[in-house]
């Protein structure tokens, strides 16, 4: 059992609070539903504080609870890795719950109880120390989030999203079930301690790895298992999308790290390469898909695919270095990946909450009808802009730091012994560089079309600023983005004990370096000082402004736009989101999406309008999802005849089956 001084007790209290208020809200509904968010705020703050102390002290706590399976009980453990992901989960939960407080007029029994249960389930996954607890919590997480996706069940699109999500979640869980079964082996040691110490055949290890990649990859949204994200994120309420995209995908990453780095021991040489390639494909395809979208939440969902790819690249680098016994470099790459986990949770939650504020203010998610929102919603615009800069990996914010660390790890490729791996790393670096540039273009599109320019519809013209709860949630996340961007040294040092636990070594201490600079490998190799850069930028911009205003001119006049002498009052003269992406689509989309442009030009003299249309193909969806579904349908239609046979024929069939099975048994033995 657990004594009160054990930090695990605090985490149990947090989970119990969440589960308890979920049940109360489900049972009593009405005004009790409003209880969910304040309780979630308390539980999340409690969990963040506890997890932070565990991470900084680097201690491990275990407990054995008399819950769950009879006679076996439930094993629970929290170590630096769980604590780090606990912080990520609960910061995301805190922000989403704070945003949710503003929903007090639209509470629904279909959303609020599941929100709390979802948050509890994610915390439970992190604490599980045996396969049963892990899979149970994992399934609880899937089911509660599914319920949140289908909350607007009257919408056919939401039903379809929920269907696809449920399908992929089931595939994932089956794969994980198989993985844990194979890891436990015939002896059936389902607790993580015996999985850690078990000896395994290389073939079994290979199968486990494949199953774990499918199981966690389908939840994280790695290509080609990403199909549910762009459907489910737009369907769910915005603060839930923030939680699913910013937080739940990280829980999947936790599962992957737990198995690859902790449970399975030293990785084989090719594992790193596979993870790297999966990551590189997801990164590039994710951002290309995102560029083609004009639904803001779909665009953000595809960016999650991209960022999960970046995290996979970091993990793949770490596995590669680890399998070659370069532990210090493995720690650098793992730190980069985990820092990106943290960063992505911050800015993706921020952007989804921003998208939620836009949706609430205008009722629209389609970029093509937005525009000019910076005027009615200045604070949301500022927060969203910070999120855009951060996710585009631009200095001096946090997204850049983790990508910079990833590049530093890639630059260490000459220390690898094998030429193919030496070449693979810079190739992945090329993909990462390309994706970073494409991501910046995509967020110029997202921010520029939604917030800048002139409103493209009445709804955008009538927009209003978000409520104070939403604003404070976004402000907290934006400030955290800035803080972790300016003082990355502290965040890297906080991950020291985690790296020590998983890799036996850690990165050099960063927070003692003067001016909060970070020097990941050595002084001569590379260094980056976001604080000094920001100070210089602010000082220089400010001094220039003051200087010019004092000594040159401060006169300013407002006038209609010039636009080369032909301004047009119609807002439809502006570039649209699709128009903005058109040059990029011409370059990258011709092959990737088989993009075909069709122009119907009426003959001269005719007054019918000309029409322009673009046809894009989602090859992954068509080949890997639709085609198998079509074959399944065709086969089952063929087999349908067996449903309407006479008794005599059924008997013949059974007899034939029996004979053929006997023959098979005879041949084998």
């Amino acid at each position: 059992m657990v004594d009160a001084a054990n930090p695990l007790a605090m985490l149990f209290i947090a989970i119990a609070l969440l589960l308890g208020c979920a049940m109360l809200a489900a049972a009593f509904r009405g005004r009790v539903l409003g209880l969910v968010y304040p309780v979630s705020l308390i539980a999340a703050s409690l969990a963040v504080a506890t997890d932070l102390s565990i991470l900084l002290n680097g201690t491990t706590f275990t407990a054995h609870l008399p819950l769950g399976l009879p006679t076996i009980g439930l094993r629970v453990r929290v170590d630096a890795l769980s604590a780090f992901f606990g912080i990520v989960v609960n910061i995301g939960t805190f922000a989403a719950a704070l945003y949710g407080l503003g929903r007090h007029k639209q509470l629904s029994a279909r959303v609020e109880p599941f929100f709390a249960a979802f948050a509890a389930a994610m915390n439970m996954v992190l604490l599980a120390d045996d396969a049963f607890g892990f899979l149970f919590s994992w399934e609880l997480m899937s089911v509660t989030s599914w319920a949140l996706v289908i909350a607007r069940h009257e919408d056919a699109e939401a039903r379809r999203a929920a269907h696809v999500y449920l399908m992929l979640a089931s595939i994932g869980t089956i794969a994980l079930l198989f993985a844990f079964g194979a890891m436990a082996g015939p002896a059936g040691g389902y607790d993580f301690a015996s999985i850690r110490s078990a000896e395994r055949d290389p073939l079994v290890t290979g199968l486990v790895l494949a199953a774990v990649l499918v199981g966690t990859g389908s939840k994280a949204g790695i290509i080609p298992l990403h199909a549910w994200l762009p459907l489910a994120h737009p369907a769910a309420p915005s603060h839930v999308s923030a939680l699913m995209s910013g937080v739940m995908t990280k829980v999947a990453i936790y599962g992957l790290i737990r198995v690859l780095f902790d449970l399975l021991g030293k990785p084989s040489l090719w594992l790193g390469a596979i993870v790297l390639i999966l990551g590189a494909v997801s990164t590039l395809m994710g951002v290309l898909y995102a560029l083609m979208q004009h639904d803001l939440k779909r665009l953000l969902a595809y960016h999650t695919v991209e960022n999960i790819g970046i995290i996979f690249i970091g993990l793949g680098l770490s596995l590669t270095f680890k399998s070659n016994n370069l532990d210090a470099l493995a720690a650098l790459a793992l730190t980069a990946a985990l820092f990106h986990v943290f960063n992505h949770c911050l800015f993706k939650s921020l952007l989804f909450l921003g998208a939620g504020a836009i949706l609430h203010a205008t009722g629209k998610r389609d970029l093509e009808v937005l525009g000019g929102l910076i005027h009615p919603m200045p604070l949301t615009a500022l927060a969203f802009l910070i999120g855009c800069i951060a996710i585009s990996a631009l200095p001096p914010l946090n997204g850049f730091v983790s990508e910079w660390l990833t590049f530093q790890a890639i630059l260490q490729s000459p220390s690898l012994p094998h030429l193919p791996m030496k070449i693979l790393l810079p190739t992945v670096g090329a993909v990462l560089a390309l994706s970073a540039a494409l991501a910046a273009a995509c967020f110029v599109k997202a921010f520029g079309i939604a917030f800048l320019g002139r409103p493209r519809s009445q709804a955008a013209r009538d927009a209003h600023e978000a409520d104070s709860f939403a604003l404070s949630a976004m402000a907290i996340l934006a400030l955290l983005c800035i803080a972790s961007g300016l003082f990355p040294g502290f965040f890297i040092d906080a991950l020291g004990s985690l790296n020590h636990a998983l890799l036996g070594t850690q990165m050099p201490t960063q927070s003692t370096i003067p001016w909060f600079s970070i020097v990941p490998i050595g002084d001569v190799r590379s260094s980056y000082d976001p604080l000094l850069i920001s100070i210089f930028l602010l000082f220089c911009a400010g001094a220039t402004a003051i200087f010019i205003h004092f000594f040159a001119s401060r006169a300013l006049r407002r006038a209609p736009a010039w636009d080369c002498g032909f301004p047009d009052p119609s807002p439809s003269i502006q570039y649209t989101a699709s128009g903005f992406a058109q040059p990029i689509r011409r370059i990258y989309g011709t092959i990737t999406f088989s993009a075909k442009e069709q122009v119907d030009m009426p003959p001269p003299g005719s007054s019918t309008p000309a029409r322009f249309s673009v046809k894009l193909h989602d090859h992954i969806w068509e080949l890997l999802y639709l085609a198998p579904a079509r074959y399944m349908l065709a086969i089952s239609e063929r087999l349908n005849v067996f449903q309407f046979l006479t008794v005599r024929r059924y008997l013949i069939l059974m007899f034939a089956a029996l004979i053929s099975l006997l023959v098979v048994v005879m041949v084998i033995t």
């Binding site: 910076i374 000459p414 070449i423 001569v524 000094l532 930028l537 220039t544 010039w562 903005f580 370059i587």
Partner: protein
């Protein structure tokens, strides 16, 4: 003690130097172009006069513009200045050279472009959106190519810090490396694209359908325009310095060698930069501007060259071992 005084002094000189010579370097290119077209061309000081004239003028801001439109010029100018300051010009080992390595420099220019493209979309005109859209397209090809070039050099020199790379290349025995040649070609193409030069863009045009950079800044006037012009000039100097520092670093002084050695190195640097500006002028009069949709192919070459150079440097290293 003297070394830290030197490094601070050197940093101060470099920070002011890049700002001071930027209009003149653009002026050299303009003058060469004009002379080759049998025009007399503007005097070298014209760039400074233009900037001072613009700074004193009233700013006209469109009704629909937001605060982002007014803040962006200051940010873009500071970012370009910072990037130009971080590239070694006449001396290595300057005081603040450790605040950012070459990846940071590339990314700082990315941030500048981010604000530039957003500012282009802020007023809500057709031209602004067109410029921003095209600039984003160019950036998606040029930025990764540039990053690959610097990754290649960072791998060769085992460091991503520019002063260390320059020192390494200076001390290495002179050898023609194929991968460096590919990297140079790639970087030159990127520099042409990023500075909105022919054949990617035409800095002198206001012909509607060919504009990229000029379309984005169409709504700017007065001091805002002056800052954006200064930022463009700084960017040209920064790319010139980068190419010189990476591919022609001979004669670059160490910061500890004292003011006398600095002076020699500084004269050499200004000479190299002027030569680069003259070459740019020669190049621009001898080639026509491309259609926008051919730019992708042109920059694709830069990306492929950079990538091939990167692979080659691994393969040659393996063969030499």
């Amino acid at each position: 003690m003297t070394s830290s005084v030197y490094s601070i002094l050197g940093q101060g000189i470099q920070t002011l130097l890049v700002l001071a010579i930027a209009p003149a370097i653009t002026g050299v290119t303009r003058l060469v172009k004009a002379r080759l077209m049998r025009k007399s061309g503007p005097p070298l000081l014209q760039g400074y006069r233009d900037l001072f004239k613009l700074l004193r003028k009233e700013v006209i801001v469109a009704d629909t513009a937001s605060w982002l439109f007014r803040v962006s010029p200051y940010l873009i100018f500071s970012l370009a200045w910072l990037a130009a300051t971080l590239v070694p010009t006449f001396a290595t080992g300057l005081h603040f050279s450790w605040t950012g390595d070459v990846i940071v420099i590339v990314a700082l220019l990315g941030t500048a472009r981010f604000f530039q493209t957003l500012a282009g979309m802020d007023v809500g005109t057709a031209f602004g959106g067109m410029g921003s859209s095209r600039e984003s397209m160019i950036a998606t090809m040029a930025e990764p190519a540039m990053l690959l070039v610097v990754l290649n050099l960072a791998l060769i020199a085992s460091s991503s810090r520019l002063p260390v790379i320059a020192d390494y290349l200076v001390t290495q025995p002179l050898a023609i490396r194929v991968s460096l040649a590919l990297a140079l070609m790639s970087l030159v193409i990127v520099a042409l694209a990023e500075n909105a030069r022919i054949p990617v863009d035409n800095p002198a045009t206001h012909l509607e359908l060919t504009m990229v950079h000029e379309a984005m800044i169409l709504e700017y006037s007065g001091r805002h325009l002056a800052l954006i012009e200064a930022a463009s000039q700084l960017k040209l100097v920064m790319y010139g310095s980068l190419i010189i520092c990476l591919f022609l670093p001979f004669g670059i002084a160490s910061v500890d060698s004292g003011p006398a050695a600095w002076f020699v190195s500084l004269v050499l640097y200004v000479g190299k930069l002027t030569l680069a500006a003259i070459t740019l002028g020669l190049w621009e009069v001898s080639i026509a501007k491309m259609r926008v949709f051919r730019v992708g192919e042109f920059l694709g070459i830069a990306f492929i060259f950079a990538f091939l150079g990167l692979l080659l440097s691994f393969v040659t290293e393996e063969l030499l071992r």
